[in-house]
């Protein structure tokens, strides 16, 4: 017996708005992302609301949740870039400052090098081997997220503005009233920490 047309329709174009777990989780991830970028909870919630309303209007075109998610995050990213570029109010100038005490600590970015600035033998980078199967990749993305969350807030903010929102370093310097040298330091440290975290928690484990 052929399926009733509306049933077929709902299988082909399921209504994701009915999936509370999915929409709640998506919303939380979006707010977290937007808040970090905008340093303003209310502005972030507004941007997420706009992005969700716009995306869910067209949600029936998406037959997979993954595609819908990619789409709403793309809309959200555009909104964030617009807000960052247009708003006259600068992010508080202290938001990307490094605590000076931190500069004296021997940290991840110093550890791999000896006093002459060469790699310690045991710390020399070797090529990363990435698993091909998707189940392992799911675990990889969880590890990646954990490493990202472990970054100090100002490193994470600089890194996300650069790599996730896709602003240029000049734009970030302008938005956050940070010198280019300072930003280079922040991005370098963020990358060193992320690299180290992935090395220890993923690649060294031969996962």
């Amino acid at each position: 017996m052929p399926l009733h047309p509306t049933i077929t329709e709902s299988i082909q174009h399921p209504d994701w708005t009915q999936d509370q777990v999915f929409t709640n989780e998506l919303r939380q991830q979006m707010i977290k992302f937007a808040t970090l970028q905008l340093s303003d909870q209310h502005l972030a919630e507004d941007a997420v609301q706009d992005a969700l309303v716009g995306a869910l209007k067209n949600q029936q075109t998406f037959t997979r949740q993954a595609a819908l998610k990619t789409w709403v995050f793309a809309i959200l990213k555009h909104k964030i870039v617009d807000l960052l570029r247009s708003r006259s109010r600068l992010v508080s100038s202290s938001s990307l400052q490094i605590n000076d005490d931190e500069d004296h600590l021997i940290e991840v970015w110093d550890q791999p090098f000896n006093s002459r600035g060469h790699w310690h033998l045991s710390e020399q980078p070797t090529p990363w081997q990435q698993p091909a199967d998707s189940l392992a990749m799911d675990q990889f993305w969880l590890t990646f997220e954990t490493c990202l969350n472990a970054l100090p807030a100002q490193y994470s903010k600089a890194y996300m503005m650069r790599e996730f929102v896709g602003l240029t370093t000049q734009e970030i310097c302008l938005q956050t009233n940070t010198s280019e040298n300072r930003l280079n330091v922040l991005l370098y440290r963020a990358r060193m920490k992320l690299r180290n975290c992935l090395q220890e928690n993923w690649f060294d484990k031969g996962a």
């Binding site: 991830q29 997979r64 993954a66 997220e145 996730f164 240029t168 990358r191």
Partner: protein, 63 residues
């Protein structure tokens, strides 16, 4: 010749802007001889790739 630590900083900057000729030459002189820094360079590029894919990939349900 620049040491590895300085080279890693230069490699990070190279992710964000085009290097000038002098920087490129110094980088090339070093990485030609240093496999660790070559591997580090590759890892930085992979890191950028992971970041670009992160939002699209994480927690996406399977078909």
């Amino acid at each position: 010749m620049l040491n590895c630590k300085t080279i890693t900083k230069l490699l990070s900057v190279a992710q964000d802007r085009k290097l000038n000729l002098a920087e490129k030459i110094r980088l090339k002189l070093h990485t030609t001889m240093c496999s660790a820094c070559r591997a580090f360079d590759k890892q930085l590029q992979e890191l950028q790739g992971f970041s670009n894919n992160f939002i699209n990939e994480k927690h996406t349900p399977k078909d």
